[in-house]
Symmetry: C2
Subunit: 399 residues, 2 copies
Amino acid sequence: KPAFDPSEHPHRRYNPLTRSFVLCSPHRTKRPWQGAQESPQTTQLPAYDEKCYLCPGNDRATGGKNDRYESTFFFENDYAALMPLDVEQSSDADSHPLLRMEPARGRCYVICFHPSHNLTLAQLSTAPYTAATHIVPIIRAWQDLYLRIPAENPFVKYVQIFENKGSAMGCSNPHPHGQVWSLDYIPEEPAKELESQKAWALDAANAEERISLGVRDDKGRPSLLLTIAKLELTSKDRPRVICANDDFVAIVPFWAVWPFEVLVLPAKRQIPAISDLSSDEAASLAQILGEVACRLDNVFQCSFPYSMGIHQRPVAASASASSASAGACNHGHGHGDDDSWDYAQLHIHFYPPLLRSASVRKFLVGFEMMAEPQRDLTAEQAAKRIRDCDTTHYLAKLA
Amino acid sequence: KPAFDPSEHPHRRYNPLTRSFVLCSPHRTKRPWQGAQESPQTTQLPAYDEKCYLCPGNDRATGGKNDRYESTFFFENDYAALMPLDVEQSSDADSHPLLRMEPARGRCYVICFHPSHNLTLAQLSTAPYTAATHIVPIIRAWQDLYLRIPAENPFVKYVQIFENKGSAMGCSNPHPHGQVWSLDYIPEEPAKELESQKAWALDAANAEERISLGVRDDKGRPSLLLTIAKLELTSKDRPRVICANDDFVAIVPFWAVWPFEVLVLPAKRQIPAISDLSSDEAASLAQILGEVACRLDNVFQCSFPYSMGIHQRPVAASASASSASAGACNHGHGHGDDDSWDYAQLHIHFYPPLLRSASVRKFLVGFEMMAEPQRDLTAEQAAKRIRDCDTTHYLAKLA
Ligand SMILES: O=P(O)(O)O[C@H]1O[C@H](CO)[C@@H](O)[C@H](O)[C@H]1O
Ligand SMILES: O=P(O)(O)O[C@H]1O[C@H](CO)[C@@H](O)[C@H](O)[C@H]1O
C-alpha cells in the first residue's frame, strides 16, 4: 500500500463550521478542458458612465436619483427580494406538515463602494488609493446599516452583507457595489455556523488540552474560529495562510470548496459583529480585504469574480429579541437558537469561481449538487498560488 | 394587515428531504436583467463528429477507443475524480480535529446514451424515437453499473448516477451522456436525505392520522416520499404536478430551489434502487424522464441545460456492509447510518438553471451562498409553465 499523500490522492476534508465534507481530487487538475469559457472583463471602463444606475447623480430604473456622492452611498434596493410588509397568515386547513411555508419580512439595500465606475475593492488598496481612505468608508457603511436597519425595523433579526463581483457571479453592473439584505429570521448558513460554534465551545470544554489550544473568547469559552486562526498562524510553514496583519488573518480554509476560496478571520479576540470593531481593527480589516481582493486579481491578471459575504452575530437585542423573534421556534430547526448568538465570531468568506485561467471556471454541478462538493487543487496549492502573487494590482503596474 | 398570498408575498418554504429552507420572492420576477447571457445550443450538430471522444468507434483523449456501439456504451472515466487505489493513512501526530481528512476511494464511469452525437434525452421520447426503445436501454445501463461496480469493488458503498447537460452546467461535450461515480462512503446529500426519510418514518409513526395520509412502505413504515407523491396527486387542481403515469409522478417540488426544478417520484410503492424496478416500472420511468426532458426543452424552445441525478439506496450488502463500511462512524456525523438505508426511496432530481429565457439563468450567488437559497417564481407558477408545454419536442415539429 502506498502512503496516503493528500497532494496526490483523492480524499475528503471536514468543514467544522458547517459540519460537512468536501471531496478533494488533486490529481484531477491534469484533466483537459473543452467546455464553457467565461468572458473576463477586458475592455477598459470609463470612470463615469451616464447609463449606469449606480454612478453619482444618475437616475435609477424606478425613478430614484443617486446623490452626487464622493465616498460611499447606499439606498434601498429597487427590486428587493424582501419587503417590510406585515401580512396575516391564515390558518390554512389544507396545509400539511410536508407543505410548510411562512411569510418572510426584511429590507434590502445597495451600497456603492466608490464614485468611480471603473474601480473595484481590489484596486482601492493600491496606489494612488489606500485602504485607509477608500475601504474604511465601506466598513463604516456596513456598520451604519448593521445598526440602523434593526433600529428602524424592530422585526429584523439578521443582516446579511455581501458582494457579487463579475458577470460570472450574476452581477449585472460593474460599478463597485455590494448589498445588504436584512431578514426577520436567521437564514440557513449563518444558523448552521452559529450552532457549530456553540457546539465546539461546549465540546471543547470537555477536551481542552487536545483540541482548543487554550484559545478562548472574552467570556472564557473555547472559540472555534480563534482556534483555527491560531492553528494556521502557528503551523509549520503556514501552508494555508495568505497574509496576516495585527488583527486579522486570511487563509484558504483547509476545507475550501471553491478553487481559490478565502476566509478572513480575527486573529486575536472575539469580535461578534462589524459594529464591534475598534478603529484600529476597522483599518486592519480594510487593509486585509483590499489585499485579498488585489492578490486574487493578480492570480490570473483579470478582475477575479467572486461572491464575498460577512457572517456575524444576529442583530435583535437579546431582551426584545425573545419576543420579537418568538417565531424562531416555528422554523422548526433549533438552528440559530438565541443562546448560540453569544458564540458568533465575525468572519468574511470569499467564493471565487475561476479554476484554471481568467476564462475557465469550476462548475459545482452534477456530482456536487447531487452528492457533495468536489474540488481539484488542494487548499495548500491554492494558498501558495495566491501568496506568490504581488500586492500591487496588475493594472497599477501597467499604468 | 393584508392576507398572506404566497403568489405575491416573500416567504420561506421548508424542504423535508434535506430539512432546510428556501426563500421565495415571487414579486421579484418583475426585475429587469442586464447581466450575463448564456449561449444556448443553436447551431445544428452533425449526427457523427469525428473529433468527439464519445462518438462510436472514435479514439478517446487517453488512448482508449470506443466500441462501434448502437445503443448505449459505458467506459471508465479517463479523468476520474476517484480512484480504486488503497492507501495507508499515517497516524499523523500533527493532525488536529479541526484539520481532519481521510482518503476516499471509488471509480467513475461515463455512459453514452445513444450513438447519435446530436440527440438528447429530450428527443429520445418523441417520434421517430420512443422511450421504450431508446431510454429503457439507458436505465438498463444504470442498473448494470449499480450492481456491477460494488460486485467488482467490494469497498464501494454508494453509486451516484447523474447527467450534466449543456455548457451552462459545466458539460464539455454535447454528445448525449451521463456519469456514474461510486464511492466508499455515503456523500453529504444522499446521507442527509436518508436520515430525513428515516426521521420522518419514526416521527410519523407517532402522529399518523395527521401527517402520513396512511401511506406506508412494503414493511409497513410511513414513507416520506410516497406521502408527498400522494399529497401532490390528490391535491385540488394538482398545482405542482407536471405529469404522471402508472408508476411515477413528476412534480415541481413545493420547496424547489432552481426555477424549473423537477422531482420524479415513485407513485405507488417503495422502490429502494434502480435495480428494484420491474420491467413495467423501467418502461414507466423511461417514459416520464423523456417527457420531463422534452417539456423542459419546450419551455424556452432550446436545449434546456440541467444537472439530473438519481438518489437511491446505498449499495453494500447489509451483512458485509457493516464491516466493509465500519469507517462510516469516523465521518463523524451519524449521517447515512446503516439503519437509514432501509428507508431509501428511489427518486430523480432535475436542477435546470434557466430563469427567464434560453439565455438568462438564475444565479445562486451572494445571498444564496452566504445565507440561503432564494428563488423568484413560485413552484406552482413553474409547474404551470412546464405543464402547459407540448409533449412533442419543438425540433420534431420543425422537421
Ligand atoms: O466530469 P466532467 O464532465 O469533465 O466535469 C463536470 O462534471 C463534474 C461532476 O459534476 C464536475 O466536477 C466538473 O466541475 C464539471 O465540469
Ligand atoms: O440583486 P442582483 O444583483 O440583481 O442579483 C444577483 O444577486 C442576488 C443575490 O445574491 C441573486 O439572488 C441574483 O440571482 C443575482 O443575479
